[in-house]
C-alpha cells in the first residue's frame, strides 16, 4: 500500500475509533555500506526501509504506536495500540498537535551528485583505505575496518490539524581502523569522516592519519597520578559535549535532571565559549527545515560568551516555561516518542591551531581518545571518569605517548575552565543526539589516575 492511501485509512479508522487528533511521522531511507578486508569485499549491505510512527489523542491523552509494513494489520495495530497507550497515560503534560509554522526555512542537506556515486566507486574507496594504510607503515599488521557507507532519508509528517511537510537528507561516511604491531605491542588508530561532498573524501589522508595515530602510541606508558593541564582534542571534546548534551534540554531541566536548572542568563562557562545549535547549516548531518513536531527550525546560541542564553525546547516544554519552542523537538526514529535533541550542535572555533595550543599548554597531557562514555559519565551530576590515551607534553613539546590512565572531572567544571579554544572545529557522525562538533579545548586541569 502506498503511504497516502495508508494515511487515509489510518485517519479514517482512527476517527471511527474515537481518536481526537492524529499524526503520522514517516521515514523512508536507503542505505549502502561496504567493508573491505584483505583487498576483498568482506561485507556489503544494502537496504530500503520505511517506518510509520503514529500518535493520537484519546480522552485528552496521547498514545504512540509504530509499524514497518503498510497493510491492514498495521492499520489495526496503530489504532488499537495508540488508543491503549493513551488510556494508561497519567502525566498531565499538555501535548500539542501543531498546525504548521507560517513559513519554513530553506535548508540544503541533500546532494544529488552524492547519490550518483556508484557502488564500485565506494568499494574502490574502501579498498584504497586499506591499501593506503598498509603503504603508510610496515608495522601495520591489519586494517580491521575499511568502511564506506551512504544513506539517504526522507521524512514526511502529516496530521489532522492540517500539517503536511517533508524534507530529505543524504550523506556518506567513511571509517578506517588500523592495527600496528611492534614486538609484543599492539596499538590501534582510527579515522572517521562524514559528509555529503564526495570530493572531500580523501582515502590517503584518512588512512595515513589512522596509521600515524596508531604508531604514535607505541611505547606508551602510564604517568603518575595527579592534576594535569589537559588538551581535549577536538574529537574527544566533541564526544564529551555529545554525552552531556542532554543537560541543555528543557525537558531534563523541568524534570530536575539538569544542574543548569535556574541558571538561565548566568555565566556557566568560560567567557571564551560560545555554543551554537544550527539546524540550517548547509549540508549538516542534522539539518532540517522542521523539527519532530513540525515546527520551523532556527539557529540559536545556547551559550554566548559563557552565558547560558536558552535551553532547547519542544512545544510541551516551551508551554510549561511560557516561551516559544526553539524547534528542537526530536524523533530519533519513527519508533520514538517526541523528545528534545540538539541539531548541528557545536562550540564556535577560536583562533589558535592545534600546534599552537600544545605550545601554549606548556606542560600537560593531550587526550586523544576516551573509552567508557556510556558507562563512566553521569549526565545528571556531570561527573566523568574515563579510560584514556594521549601524549605527555613538556615545555610545549610532545615527549611521548600515554596509556593506562583515566581522566576524571566534571562537565560543568570543564565548561568553566576552558582556557583556550582551537580553530580546528570538526564534526563527528550524526546520530540520534544530533550532529555534534567541537574544536580542541585547553582545560585548566583534570584529574589523571595512572601509576
Amino acid at each position: 500500500m502506498e503511504i497516502q492511501e495508508f494515511k487515509d485509512r489510518v485517519f479514517a479508522a482512527g476517527q471511527a475509533a474515537g481518536l481526537e487528533d492524529m499524526e503520522i511521522y514517516v521515514s523512508k531511507s536507503k542505505t549502502f555500506s561496504t567493508c573491505v578486508f584483505h583487498k576483498e569485499v568482506d561485507d556489503y549491505t544494502v537496504s530500503v526501509e520505511q517506518g510509520v510512527g503514529f500518535r493520537a489523542r484519546f480522552s485528552g491523552k496521547v498514545g504512540y504506536a509504530y509499524v514497518e509494513i503498510l497493510d491492514q494489520d498495521s492499520v489495526d495495530l496503530l489504532i488499537s495500540g495508540a488508543k491503549a497507550n493513551a488510556q494508561i497515560i497519567e502525566s498531565d503534560d499538555e501535548i500539542e498537535f501543531f498546525e504548521g509554522s507560517p513559513r519554513y526555512p530553506e535548508v540544503i542537506a541533500y546532494n544529488r551528485s552524492l547519490e550518483a556515486i556508484s557502488a564500485e566507486e565506494k568499494i574502490e574507496f574502501a579498498k584504497a583505505l586499506e591499501s593506503e594504510a598498509f603503504a603508510t607503515d610496515e608495522r601495520v599488521s591489519m586494517v580491521n575496518y575499511a568502511v564506506t557507507g551512504y544513506s539517504e532519508t526522507e521524512v514526511y509528517m502529516a496530521n489532522t490539524k492540517g500539517l503536511e511537510q517533508s524534507f530529505e537528507r543524504n550523506g556518506a561516511v567513511s571509517f578506517v581502523s588500523a592495527v600496528v604491531r611492534e614486538g609484543e605491542q599492539i596499538k590501534t588508530g582510527m579515522r572517521m569522516m562524514f559528509g555529503n561532498n564526495w570530493g572531500e573524501f580523501d582515502a590517503e589522508r584518512l588512512a595515513q592519519d589512522a596509521v600515524r595515530e596508531a604508531t604514535s602510541l607505541l611505547g606508551a606508558k602510564s604517568v603518575p597520578s595527579g592534576n594535569y593541564p589537559i588538551l581535549l582534542r577536538h574529537d574527544v571534546a566533541r564526544d564529551l559535549l555529545s554525552t552531556f548534551a542532554s543537560v541543555f534540554s528543557a525537558e531534563a531541566v523541568q524534570k530536575g535532571l539538569s544542574l543548569l536548572e535556574g541558571r538561565l542568563g548566568q555565566q556557566i562557562a568560560s567567557p571564551r565559549l560560545t555554543l551554537v545549535d544550527d539546524p540550517l547549516l548547509k549540508n549538516g548531518g542534522a539539518s532540517a527545515s522542521f523539527d519532530g513536531e513540525g515546527v520551523a527550525t532556527r539557529t540559536k546560541k545556547v551559550i554566548e560568551a559563557g552565558q547560558l542564553t536558552t535551553f532547547l525546547h519542544n512545544l510541551k516544554t516551551a508551554k510549561k516555561d511560557g516561551v516559544e519552542s526553539t524547534g528542537n523537538a526530536s524523533r530519533p526514529s519513527f519508533k520514538s516518542p517526541v523528545g528534545i535533541s540538539p541539531t548541528n550542535f557545536f562550540i564556535e572555533p577560536g583562533t589558535l591551531t592545534y600546534d599552537e595550543l600544545v605550545t601554549k599548554m606548556g606542560d600537560g597531557i593531550i587526550i586523544i581518545d576516551v573509552q567508557g562514555l556510556h558507562s563512566g559519565a553521569n549526565p545528571v551530576s556531570g561527573d566523568f571518569s574515563l579510560g584514556a590515551y594521549g601524549y605527555l607534553v613538556e615545555n610545549g613539546q610532545i615527549v611521548g605517548p600515554v596509556e593506562q590512565i583515566t581522566v576524571a572531572g566534571n562537565f560543568f567544571e570543564v565548561l568553566e575552565t576552558v582556557e583556550e579554544i582551537g580553530s580546528d572545529l570538526e564534526f563527528g557522525s550524526p546520530g540520534s543526539r544530533g550532529h555534534v562538533g567541537s574544536p580542541t579545548l585547553l582545560i585548566r586541569h583534570l584529574s589523571i589516575a595512572g601509576m
Partner: protein, 479 residues
C-alpha cells in the same frame, strides 16, 4: 492487499510468514551470480514499551517491526540486503540487487526445503499481548512505590516496562526452513538519590526469555528497594581512591567484566581475522587455573537464551575456558568458514536489519570453592565492586574500562566504607591471569549488548571473584 493474502499464509501463531515456494525462488535469485550459500531471515515482531516517571505513566509505545534480510556468501565474501516490502516482486528484486555485488555462474539451480521443528525449551505461559496494559502499569507502580518510599533522599524514580514477541522464519540454500518465536519481558528501575547539588543514580533491570509470568519469579519490591539503597549509599559516599590495587568484584552483574574484557575477544568476529588477543591460543593457559567460563544459550527462560540462533543453528552450552585453558570460541557460519570450524549456535542479530555474527548469549564464570565472606576476610586492602556499571573494550588490544556503580573499601578483612566514581581499566587477558579467589555464589544479571550485529539481550554472570591488581581511576588521588 489481495496480493499479500495470496502470497502469505497464516501459521498457528496467527502471523504471516513467507510461503515455501517464494522462499525457494528468492534463495535461487540470490544465488544467480555464483554465491555458494544464501539465507533468508524474516521477522514480525510486536512489542510494548511503557515509561513511568515518579509514579506517573508518561509514555506508551506499541510497535511492529517487520522485514526480511537476505544474505549471500561466496567464499569469505558476504552480502546482505534488507527491506520491509515483502511482496514477491520486491523480494526478488532485492535478492538480485544483492547478488549483483558478486559475479560468477550459478552453482545451485534447485533447493529442497526441509521443515525443521524447533525444540522449545523456553516455555511461555502468559503471552504479554494477552495481558492488559493496566496490569503492566500495576507492576510498574509497585516498583515505583518501593523505590520512592525507601528513603527521603530518593528524589526521582523512573520505571520502564518492555515486552517483545518476535516471530522469525529462517531458511537457507542448505535446505533449512525453521520458524521460532522469542518472547521477552523486562522491567527497568532507575532510582536517583540527591544530596544538595549532587545526584547519584542506580539501575536494576531484571528480565527473562518469558512472558508476564516473569513477575511471579522476581520480587519487584525487593529489587526496587535495592536500586534505591544503592543510589542513597552512593550519594553519601566519598570518591574512590585511584591507583593500582586489589579489586573484589561481586557476583551477578559483576560478570560484565568477563563479558566485555574476555567474551568479546572470544567471538569469532574478532578471532577469525586475528584481531583478538585469544586468536590461535586454543589449548593454551589464558587465565588463572581457578577460572572456568561458559557461554550457554540453552538455560531455560534465561534472558539471553534462544531455542535456535539467528542462522537457525540450535543453541548449546559452549565451554570457553576450562581451569584456565582456552577451550573454544563462539562461532557463526561465515567466520566458521574462515576458521575451518563448525558454528556453535552463537550467531545473533538485533533484527532483520543486521547480518548476524557470533555473539554471546548467557556468559558466566563458573562457581569456585571459596565463599564471599572468605574472600573479604582474607583481604587486607581492596576495592569491593558490589555493582558494576557498563563498560567497553578494544578487541584488538583487549583494553577495557568499567564504571563501578557501587563500590566499597575493604580494609583488614572488613568492608570499611562506600566509595563512588571508580573506573576499572586494564587488559582482559591480564586480569584473567590475576584472578586469585573465586567464590561459589554464581548468579546472573541482564544486559543489552551492543556490537556489530546490533543490540541484543545477554546475561552476564559470575560468583564473587578477587583480582590481585587492577588500575582504579577516580577523582581522588592515590591512597
Amino acid at each position: 492487499m489481495l496480493s499479500i493474502q495470496q502470497l502469505y499464509h497464516r501459521n498457528e501463531g496467527g502471523f504471516y510468514l513467507l510461503a515455501e515456494s517464494l522462499v525457494t525462488d528468492v534463495i535461487l535469485a540470490a544465488l544467480s551470480t555464483g554465491g555458494d550459500f544464501a539465507e533468508i531471515f524474516m521477522e514480525d515482531t510486536r512489542g510494548t514499551n511503557i515509561r513511568m516517571l515518579n509514579g506517573s505513566v508518561e509514555e506508551g509505545v506499541s510497535g511492529r517491526d517487520y522485514g526480511v534480510g537476505i544474505r549471500i556468501f561466496q567464499g569469505f565474501r558476504s552480502v546482505y540486503a534488507y527491506t520491509n516490502d515483502t511482496n514477491r516482486e520486491n523480494l526478488l528484486k532485492v535478492a538480485l540487487e544483492a547478488a549483483a555485488a558478486l559475479s560468477g555462474a550459478p552453482q545451485l539451480t534447485n533447493i529442497v526445503l526441509q521443515r525443521l521443528v524447533v525444540d522449545r525449551f523456553n516455555p511461555v505461559r502468559l503471552e504479554p499481548q494477552d495481558v492488559p496494559h493496566s496490569d503492566k502499569v500495576g507492576i510498574m507502580k509497585r516498583a515505583n512505590l518501593a523505590a520512592a518510599g525507601y528513603d527521603k533522599q530518593i528524589t526521582q524514580v523512573a520505571i520502564t516496562y518492555l515486552d517483545t514477541d518476535q516471530h522469525v522464519l529462517i531458511a537457507n540454500s542448505e535446505g533449512l526452513l525453521v520458524q521460532d518465536r522469542r518472547i521477552r519481558t523486562r522491567l527497568g528501575i532507575n532510582a536517583v538519590a540527591s544530596k544538595g547539588n549532587e545526584k547519584q543514580s542506580a539501575f536494576r533491570g531484571p528480565g527473562r526469555h518469558m512472558g508476564f509470568e516473569l513477575f511471579e519469579h522476581i520480587d519487584v519490591e525487593e529489587i526496587a528497594k535495592d536500586a534505591a539503597r544503592s543510589a542513597v549509599t552512593m550519594v553519601n559516599a566519598d570518591y574512590a581512591p585511584s591507583g593500582k590495587y586489589p579489586v573484589i568484584i561481586d557476583n551477578e552483574f559483576g560478570g560484565v567484566i568477563f563479558h566485555e574484557a574476555c567474551g568479546h575477544g572470544l567471538e569469532a568476529t574478532s578471532v577469525a581475522k586475528g584481531a583478538s588477543v585469544f586468536s590461535g591460543k586454543l589449548g593454551q593457559q589464558v587465565a588463572s587455573s581457578l577460572v572456568t567460563a561458559v557461554d550457554d544459550g540453552t538455560i531455560p527462560n534465561a534472558w539471553g537464551s534462544q531455542n535456535i540462533d539467528d542462522e537457525g543453528t540450535k543453541t548449546r552450552r559452549n565451554v570457553l575456558i576450562e581451569n584456565g585453558i582456552l577451550k573454544g570460541y563462539m562461532i557463526d557460519k561465515l567466520n566458521g568458514r574462515r576458521m575451518e570450524m563448525e558454528p556453535t549456535g552463537s550467531s545473533r542479530r538485533q533484527s532483520y536489519k543486521f547480518a548476524p555474527t557470533s555473539r554471546m548469549t548467557n556468559t558466566f564464570i563458573c562457581a569456585g570453592q571459596s565463599t564471599k565472606e572468605e574472600i573479604i576476610s582474607n583481604t587486607e586492602y581492596a576495592l569491593f565492586a558490589k555493582h558494576m556499571g557498563g563498560g567497553s573494550v578494544n578487541p584488538a588490544t583487549g583494553e577495557f574500562n568499567f564504571a563501578v556503580a557501587e563500590g566499597y573499601i575493604v580494609r583488614n578483612g572488613k568492608i570499611e566504607k562506600p566509595v563512588r566514581g571508580g573506573t576499572l581499566i586494564g587488559q582482559g587477558s591480564q586480569i584473567l591471569q590475576k584472578i586469585d579467589m573465586v567464590a561459589s555464589n554464581l548468579a546472573s544479571g541482564q544486559g543489552m549488548c551492543g556490537s556489530r550485529s546490533g543490540s541484543i539481550p545477554t546475561d552476564v554472570g559470575q560468583p564473587t571473584i578477587r583480582v590481585s591488581e587492577i588500575t582504579v581511576g577516580g577523582r581522588k588521588g592515590a591512597n
